[in-house]
Symmetry: C2
Subunit: 295 residues, 2 copies
């Protein structure tokens, strides 16, 4: 069986009790702490490295999904952890297996509130944010395509932003999106992509449609980070089969790696939209929208 | 009385008959043709120059406002022309005065469809897109402020886009927005602003919030142009009173000049949001939006 070095584990959780206090608006830091604590229980040495390492981290966490403004034991919520390296993937799988800290039946804490794990899902059929793959599988699926599509659409599900020349940059410019994916791919994949992917994105990918709005959320240290959520479509202005196959591979990788800054804290959760949808024209015609806006 | 070198004339129109055919989705090219035809009737030499000139044009037109999908004589629509130079402003005022081609009672054609002018408005109290000012007035209003706000919000009412390094760029990056305004200001204002406004925008203005989506529309030549509509908030990362007063002046100027590419064809219609609203925080908190997106 091939090693999964890319996994996306969705934990279906039930609050153990109704919380008697205000809830955080953003659970990213709490999810990060839970992730490290679970890894520590199955592989303490790995947990220390993940905690201390600089640079891109081989995991991401999500915000608490489905939590709205209140938590009650009658309503399930979900949390998602992804791993970008075989060692981290193994630790997550072990942690969610019988007897592990994330296994069904286990009790855990998020922001000091108790939850019970109801299910731990890896199959996309069970949850749209669950999945399992490998770098080789992502690559080979795209590199054998006779002609990868000109166009692809990314869904940015949690606030996605970038640091660029010392500024927070909340617009998903092609070179920032694919530069960020490339950096992570090359940090953790057994086969590196050429650095010129970023230049191809800058020079040959255009933004042909988007529907995006900013959201802000607090980082661990209390700083406010801006990002955008919504959808953005990239189109090849100068089509090249080789470069586009790398771009599509990175876009598929985004499901596991996230995009942009602070992905280990819940930011930048992303997924590639199905191809048939991405192919439909560039935005709505202007006629209708404009008068409503301008009047 | 000071000369108005900046005017925004709103024509309230009524269709003279129900059109027996499909309507254009985008009226920018038709509005452009009407504008030049009206100027030709009062100042043929100016109309020739406006037609032949390269570079920034001293006028803008809007799409047909309020037209929805159908036109009927029972429903008013509106069209907006702006002038960025005294000579063009005078021509517009003359054309909309008694006996002129844009005066109340006049018949005119848009895309070969007949309309009757019901009112020609210049006062903001009569229509939110009407107005009259001058370069000196815009400048003096801002330069005497003790401290211009850190933050300003632009509403992009019709598709707004940019050309940047041979690509269509639909994200309103600070340097593109204020670079475009600066270029127009310096082309037509009696007092030029320093070229470093663009550098200040690039280095010291951040995008702190936005809610934007793309719209496409056809240019005269049939090409499809992408732009975005919605709102974007810029915030000074390094506050400087002098540069911020220039930035605010340009943002107010955007009401007349529009922003970005193809403003003489209805693109880039913009207005500055009132200050008290622009001051409210950077986007909505992430908690609520994210789970809805991601689930």
């Amino acid at each position: 069986m091939p090693v999964s070095d890319l996994i996306s584990l969705v934990l279906v959780l039930r609050p153990a009790e109704a919380p008697g206090r205000a809830l955080p608006l953003w659970w990213g830091a709490a999810a990060h702490a839970l992730f490290l604590s679970a890894v520590r229980q199955v592989n303490p040495e790995l947990a220390s490295r993940l905690h201390d390492e600089q640079g891109p981290r081989p995991f991401t966490v999500s915000n608490l999904l489905g939590a709205a403004r209140e938590l009650t034991p009658s309503r399930q919520v979900a949390l998602r952890f992804t791993a970008l390296q075989a060692e981290v993937a193994s630790a997550l799988l072990e942690a969610s297996s019988a007897g592990g800290p994330l296994a069904p039946g286990a009790r855990l804490e998020l922001d000091y509130l108790p939850f019970v794990v109801e299910r731990a899902l890896l199959a996309p059929a069970e949850h749209p944010w669950a999945g399992e793959s490998s770098y080789r599988q992502l690559m080979s699926a795209r590199l054998v395509q006779t002609a990868p599509p000109r166009r692809l659409r990314l869904r940015l599900a949690s606030p996605t932003g970038f640091r660029s020349a010392e500024k927070q940059q909340p617009f998903p410019l092609p070179e920032l999106v694919f530069g960020s994916l490339l950096e992570r791919w090359n940090s953790f994949s057994p086969m590196a992509f050429p650095a010129d992917v970023r230049r191809f994105a800058a020079e040959c990918l255009g933004v042909s449609a988007f529907n995006l709005r900013t959201r802000s959320a607090r980082l661990k240290e209390g700083g406010l980070r801006i990002g955008c959520v919504g959808e953005v479509t990239f189109t090849a202005l100068n089509y090249d089969r080789y470069w586009m196959s790398l771009v599509h591979t990175l876009a598929a990788f985004a499901f596991f790696s996230g995009v942009g800054a602070s992905t280990p804290l819940g930011f930048g959760q992303a997924s590639l939209a199905p191809e048939e949808q991405a192919g439909s024209g560039p935005g709505r015609p202007a006629g209708e929208g404009q008068e409503q806006e301008q009047e």
